[in-house]
């Protein structure tokens, strides 16, 4: 595809790796914040061609993995209510809560539909006026404005049997919380490309300044990722900690103002529990009172109850980049994609699933 395949060019990849080798003055520890980066790095086998002293650590950027078990249990609860049909992104289908997964709920009779767009969930609501269609919403800034636009469309069309169960989260507060951990020594962050399309590269300036860390916004093709690693290597060599944009074709400095405005019109920040990271202030996005009739939590009167993490599961430390799946006693034994214990195994972009599926040759 145009604007994808150019960035998979073998010659460019080889020259970028040579250049990284040439510029690099010390071993590098880099965190890819976004789960889609984790997937891309594995899919293209980038670890196998990078110099051995560049360590890539997977961060908390898989929205499904950081969704608390309370929310997953809440999702399951809604799915099992009479007269309810839930719509989800495929990513959520097999995620285990303390009571099982939506896949299991479906086998037990729940109506679960995988959709490609939140707008498809609204279409389902119009098609089934006798049911309440609930979109179980997970996602970061890339996705939240889409759900906001869908709620506004439901409002305009006066669709009364549509609601959203929001487990949305935003990235900057989580990065602040994460980088505040002194154990985490990082040289640079690969900042999530499509979150940045919405929030703009400028959003990372406080992070680069407060934590003295290079923040490179980049895309998801091998050339994008390698270009960002090269920029971090240069900054380290030149003793700089700046925000740079390696994804100019899709991200600008100020972001997408229209999408941000829509997001804030419908949603407001609230404190939010992240799996493995705990409660982070003002990091969740809840539906504003004005749109309460589209809020599934209020409509179905749901109380969230936090349950402890499964025994022995290291997902929390893995999401913080402190441990790798190889360190986990459950990995590949009790915890496999077929019988996942923690969320990082079941989400396709989860670190454990990526390690399991793609391995390191």
């Amino acid at each position: 595809m145009k604007y994808l395949s150019e960035y998979r060019d073998k010659k460019l990849i080889a020259s970028l790796i040579d250049e990284v080798r040439r510029v690099k003055t010390a071993p590098l520890r880099i965190m890819e914040v976004c789960g889609t980066h984790t997937m891309a790095i594995f899919r293209h086998g980038l670890r196998s061609i990078l110099p051995g002293d560049i360590e890539l650590i997977s961060g908390p950027g898989c929205p499904v993995c950081v969704t608390s078990s309370a929310h997953i249990d809440g999702f399951l609860h809604v799915a099992l209510l009479d007269g309810v049909r839930v719509a989800i992104f495929g990513d959520l289908f097999r995620i285990p809560g303390s009571q099982g997964s939506l896949a299991q709920a479906q086998a037990g009779g729940a109506r679960v539909e995988v959709v490609y767009s939140p707008m498809d969930a609204l279409t389902l609501a119009r098609k089934h006026p006798e049911e309440l269609v609930v979109f179980l919403a997970v996602g970061f800034e890339t996705t939240i404005p889409l759900v906001a636009a869908t709620i506004l469309e439901a409002y305009r069309q006066n669709v009364n049997n549509f609601a959203v169960f929001s487990s949305h989260k935003i990235m900057p507060p989580a990065l602040h919380a994460l980088l505040g951990d002194p154990e985490l020594c990082l040289d640079g962050l690969l900042c999530p490309g499509h979150v940045s399309t919405i929030i703009g590269a400028a959003a990372y300036e406080p992070i680069a300044r407060d934590f003295g860390i290079s923040c490179i916004v980049t895309g998801f093709e091998p050339v994008d990722v390698l270009q960002a690693i090269l920029m971090i290597a240069r900054q380290v060599a030149e003793k700089r900690n700046d925000v740079e944009n390696a994804y100019g074709r899709a991200v600008n400095w100020q972001g997408n103002g229209r999408a941000m405005a829509l997001m804030h019109q419908v949603f407001e920040p609230v404190d939010c529990q992240w799996r493995g990271l705990g409660v982070i202030e003002q990091s969740g996005m809840a539906i504003r009172q004005e749109f309460a009739r589209f809020d599934a939590e209020k409509r179905c009167d749901i109380k969230l109850t936090e349950t402890p993490e499964p025994k022995g599961c290291l997902c929390g430390d893995i999401l913080k980049g402190k441990k790798t799946p190889i360190d986990c006693p459950l990995f590949k034994g009790r915890c496999t994609p077929l019988n996942p214990v923690g969320p990082c195994m079941v989400s396709s972009e989860g670190t454990c699933a990526a390690f399991y599926k793609y391995g390191v040759v």
Partner: protein, 82 residues
């Protein structure tokens, strides 16, 4: 949670600038066409523009000039190292 791909605009419907009237575009890549919503783009796209598509919505108009400049630099670097 950020899977998004660039696709080329082949048709636009709705009223330019009025985002409340179901702003839609048909986009194309390698023979595949898809209807997408334009609610979130901060500039009204033209035929031939590339849009970044995430879950059925355009979230950005791809900056082709920026892409060409970047690729040119990378190609020069690759040639220079030979």
């Amino acid at each position: 949670m950020c899977l998004a791909v660039p696709m080329r605009v082949i048709r636009v419907s709705g009223l330019e600038g009025d985002f409340t009237l179901t702003p839609l575009a048909v986009v194309e890549a390698q023979g595949i066409e898809k209807d997408v919503r334009l609610d979130l783009v901060d500039q009204w796209p033209e035929i031939g523009d590339y849009l970044i598509i995430h879950a059925g919505f355009a979230i950005h108009t791809l900056d082709e000039k920026e892409a060409e400049i970047n690729l040119k630099l990378l190609r020069e670097m690759a040639e220079g190292l030979k």
